[in-house]
Symmetry: C2
Subunit: 393 residues, 2 copies
């Protein structure tokens, strides 16, 4: 088993350093206008030049994080800085909110409606501070984080279309990202300032969004903490999202030596794996209805790369922290399905979208929602988890 762990770690590391990173280094950098290209076709060719802030800041985060890793290459710091300079020059409105998108030259194209733009700006700037030590990056990270926290009570602000007939909800994403943001900022800025935010949000996710009776993690719950089983959005489950939240929580619980949280998060992971797995064709569903009603989103039964990246990381964290062979079985099953369906044998990197059977529906490598983020993060952290497992095994 130890040998298998080591070989698997090598496979993840090689995929990261010999395939994924070179693909993005080669194709995503806009040397003419600054920032990065989001839209990359199968072979890396650019098929649109709009610059989406989630994606741009995530690429800053990823290059900075790689530079701060044991694999450090000097050019990664320059590539992170390249995006950061473009984004801090063009990316914010007068109130400090991050636009949703810019055009190629940096002129804002979509208004600052998404709280997650603030979120990824905070993560990107913090990772660059850790890599380069520039105090301006630290200030940028702290200001973006302050914006994120200030927006949590009304994340959509003036863009909120809901009226009194719509039940008000709490949304999993806002809490899970706060847990992750707090961890990234504490680590990168060398502080414990966000400890209370992390603990509070992890607790909310585990205590309020998890339904013990049905063994699912809901995406939307009522303000009073009850579940709404009568509506589509009340029953909406996004297993990849929940699994991502769980490894964020496990990562912090390990540092905090919080055994009860580790146990609970492992329990949630077990539930989501069993609920989200497609027994017929394999792979994890994108969306499911908790009671088995039809899901209203057209893409619900598709298989997405990031869902599988997050599921792999969640099972590895759970395996290492619990020692439960249940998670080894699941890691092997997920690893096998993921690696036999997502990597592109012809041009490298991974496909983003497969149909339920596992056939690619798209050939894009980068798009409005895929960039240099989930895959390299999974490969980097996955290799590290596997090495730790091999050493402990």
């Amino acid at each position: 088993m130890t040998d298998w762990m080591r070989e698997t770690a090598d496979r993840y590391r090689r995929e990261l350093l010999e395939d994924c990173v070179p693909f993005w280094e080669r194709h995503c950098v806009d040397r003419e206008c600054g920032g990065y290209f989001n839209f990359l076709a199968r072979d890396g060719e650019v098929f649109d030049t709009e610059k989406f802030m989630w994606m741009q800041w995530r690429i800053v985060y990823m290059f900075a994080t790689l530079y701060a890793s044991p694999h450090r290459q000097d050019r990664w710091l320059e590539l992170a800085r390249h995006g950061y300079d473009f984004l801090t020059r063009h990316g914010k409105d007068d109130n400090g909110n991050y636009y949703f998108a810019l055009n190629r030259e940096g002129v804002p194209s979509v208004a600052a409606y998404s709280i997650y733009s603030d979120c990824f700006a905070a993560m990107g700037a913090a990772a660059l501070y850790k890599a380069a030590g520039d105090p301006a990056c630290r200030a940028e990270a702290e200001s973006a984080m302050a914006h994120y926290l200030a927006r949590m009570d009304s994340p959509k602000g003036r863009w909120d279309k809901s009226l009194p007939g719509k039940p008000r909800r709490r949304t999993l994403g806002h809490f899970m990202m706060l847990a992750n943001l707090g961890c990234v900022l504490n680590d990168c800025l060398g502080t414990r300032q966000y400890e209370a935010d992390i603990v509070r949000s992890a607790r909310t996710v585990l205590d309020s969004f998890w339904c013990e009776e049905r063994r699912v993690l809901f995406e939307n719950i009522n303000l009073d903490g009850t579940f709404d089983l009568d509506s589509c959005d009340g029953r909406h489950v996004n297993p990849g999202h929940g699994l991502e939240a769980m490894w964020f929580i496990l990562q912090h619980a390990e540092q905090a030596r919080d055994a009860a949280t580790i146990e609970k998060a492992c329990r949630v992971i077990r539930g989501l794996l069993e609920f989200g797995w497609d027994p017929e064709h394999g792979g994890m569903f994108y969306f499911r209805d908790a009671l088995g009603w039809p899901h209203i989103e057209l893409q619900a039964d598709m298989k997405l790369w990031w869902v599988h990246n997050e599921a792999l990381l969640a099972t590895l964290f759970a395996l290492r922290l619990s020692g439960d062979p249940f998670f080894l079985d699941w890691f092997r099953r997920l690893d096998d399905w993921t690696w036999s369906h997502f990597p592109d044998p012809r041009h490298g990197e991974w496909f983003a979208y497969l149909d339920r059977r596992g056939d690619p529906t798209h050939t894009l490598k980068g798009g409005k929602w895929k960039c240099f983020f989930h895959l390299p993060r999974c490969l980097l952290l996955g290799a590290r988890q596997l090495e730790m497992l091999a050493e402990g095994g």
Copy 2:
């Protein structure tokens, strides 16, 4: 051929009167709170009670239209009225804009952000006026139409997130719906008041959105009439949308005895059929990129019921008005694929969403975007076109 036309007309009529209409009569009427249920599972069971205005008004339109058809049943007038009363009581804000959604009891749940809510309100109220002759319905239709026209210059109003870095566009949907709205209102209200709107919008669609060089109808064009081939939204093609626009235009061109428009619309239909058909698995794609780049929407390669309903109608109108056997071949091909994939053999009515291969991805009969509208309209008008073809043949 005449016999085949007659048999096919019978098949469409039976599917309408013995399957589709009874399914919706049985399951969609909310006798307790008024209006209709949108969300119907495979067997008709309600799985959410939110009431989406596009869907609600479309159901009013459809029952009123059926009542005014040769198949008239008295109860259809009552069913149209049932929705109309609920919607006029609850469905508008103080400025006369139609909300996007209400909760079951009629409390507004989603703000009036969509110009198409006005559009379907105008169509529903006009059809009910034709059916029942109530002057209040006529006033409702005229006021909704006035709203639609007033919003056309800035359809998203305060909900528009685009900033100066986003190229401004004209959108096919706004013009094609104006052509349809004008025809419905002229017919139902017994007027020629909207003649200029119809002619102007049909001309815009055919002259500006059609690209002769690539033989596709674009969804979004630049304000100066040029095509933007460098961006995903500039290259976006929705073949079902274009085919729907074409039979709206043919319907009017026939009345106006406008041979040049008939010829041009038939040419567009030919282009869209060839561009939108899936040569590998059959059926019409939902979305395609005009230059063959990956489409950014996840559901792009799926097969949707309404796309096939509109394609069937477009080929029938084109066949009858042009006499070109090309459209007979295409009608038979589309009819065969559609009828062998969409109807639900167990519970009746049609599936909404299939994957690229033609397997259902969802079992819902009604949802956020499917209701009692495209299918019954296709069956009603399709049967009539087929009868006319049989008589002429």
